[in-house]
Symmetry: C2
Subunit: 315 residues, 2 copies
């Protein structure tokens, strides 16, 4: 790792609310080394952003002058430095330029702008997903609907390479606050086990939510009642809640954007749940790996901001 790190051209950082990932990339965007940590925004607010970042870079053997490109909540108002928002509609290629430089650092450290939708009736913001989007390799032409699931799932309508608009469904956060703090905690187990897409309750409750146009409120308490009256097991109760919330998100996004094919930018178990749920909704799905997309987007951001040479999008 130490020897390969000498060939690094940039450190790429995805710095979210609860976790962070750091990669050393070469000039072509290839991964030379990686670290993952639980020291997201919340931890960094207490410990200091600079010392956390330098700790990870030192562990990776990064040279002292290696530049760093960051996306995510580190650029929010509660973050290291509030990076400006780019207002939509905006060409995807133009979003990554204009990264905000952190002052007073020996390195060149910059944070990618977020996106803002300044509509009176549908204000919205994102931080981090714009970089995934830019690295997803979307075709330059045509109309594409992109789903990026997570704590705050983002759905983005892309038209001829421009972000036309987007919306947020806080599905992951609803799951976690209801599982930890509502009466459903008595039904789901504390903490709930991970939900498997193969669980028939996931499928059944996803279909219920899809049939009801995104109305989730009428079904939430049924999970508690099914525990009391039907001996619903905790792992199945968690599958019910996950299916209800993900199905509800998809039904709601369908109502807003129409039932069009979806580019799903996701990884791992969450990606499987969404791919299955989109299939249940009868939507065609193309899956792009979220980790690869954010790395490619960060490499592109480093190029756009003149931190490394080259033009091509990383593989």
């Amino acid at each position: 790792m130490i020897s390969s790190s000498k060939a690094a051209s940039v450190a790429a950082v995805d710095w979210g609310t609860t976790r962070m990932r750091v990669w050393l990339l070469d000039g072509a965007g290839k991964v030379l080394a990686e670290r993952r940590g639980d020291d997201g925004l919340i931890t960094a607010q207490a410990k200091g952003f600079s010392s956390i970042l330098e700790g990870h870079l030192a562990a990776l053997g990064a040279p002292e002058a290696l530049p760093v490109i960051i996306c995510g909540m580190a650029g929010s108002r509660q973050g290291w430095l509030e990076a400006p928002y780019v207002s939509v509609p905006a060409p995807i290629g133009a979003i990554l330029a204009g990264a905000a430089r952190i002052p007073g650092q020996r390195r060149d450290i910059r944070i990618v702008p977020g996106l803002a939708q300044r509509l009176a009736d549908a204000p919205d913001v994102m931080r981090g997903e714009e970089t995934q989007l830019a690295g997803a390799g979307l075709p330059a032409k045509g109309r594409h609907l992109v789903c990026m699931p997570g704590t705050h799932s983002k759905w983005v309508l892309v038209e001829d390479g421009s972000v036309a608009g987007f919306g947020t469904w806080p599905t992951g956060e609803l799951f976690s606050v209801l599982a930890a703090h509502s009466i459903l905690r008595h039904s789901l187990g504390e903490p709930p086990k991970p939900v498997a897409a193969e669980n028939p309750f996931f499928r059944e409750w996803c279909l219920k939510a899809l049939a009801e146009g995104g109305d989730i409120g009428s079904r939430l308490f049924s999970i508690r009642a099914a525990s009391l009256l039907q001996d619903l097991k905790p792992e199945d109760a968690a599958a019910c809640l996950s299916g209800l919330l993900i199905g509800g998100e998809i039904a709601s996004a369908n109502r807003r954007y129409g039932a069009v094919p979806v580019v799903l930018i996701a990884s791992g178990a969450l990606g499987k749940l969404y791919a299955d749920a989109l299939g249940l909704a009868g939507l065609a799905v193309r899956v792009v790996d979220a980790d690869e997309a954010v790395r490619a987007g960060l490499a592109e951001a480093a190029r756009e901001n003149g931190m490394i040479a080259g033009n091509g999008v990383a593989a």
Copy 2:
């Protein structure tokens, strides 16, 4: 209070999850004395149900042999004694009989049964609201839709004096867990100020939710975005969330039960919010005071279980 308490025929207790209320009633159901406390189910699990109840009764000067009739979560699986559920459909008059007697007490202490809806696709339960319903003075004939708002709002369809079915919308709980534990806490203030029905944001967001058939997930994050992009004030953000959730509940219940006149059993500020929201939905509303309804229902339960004499429903 001590002198009037000697005329008491029964102590009536509404024992919920977070608070309890105790009234001494005469044989006609008239209130002689009242106490309110924060020692609901959660506190009682730790301190003991008997000692909390006896403490309130002693403070009210209740005679040692005074019988006690209880409704609410004290009768749940996590409560003092699990009172059985009556399965719906069931005549309202038949629900209150068969209260479960607490063993090993010097007094005659009984807990009113809850209601269970044992439908495979829509299981549901209630504890406490069945007593409000029985005390609401509904006409013996006709079809009535009853809304009892709260932590877990209940909507009940009553046909010719029988509970035909019911549903739960956990609107109050969604508000409190989102306000305390989600990203919205940064927007609403910690804790949020009480929401006034006169706040134009309450009205506006209620109308949005009513127009979207109960889909609340698509709008939740907009409240956060409006704080960041439009300087939405904390008290207005709380009004947005309240309007969204209450409007969503009404839209969802409308889809299930049809847009029929509503009997709203509620009190105070929450009753005002629901009355206004039901009006925005274009529904005719008749308001019944929730405190009076639960007292009348408890007096009726005491009579039905032979704890006091008489037949009439208390005024």
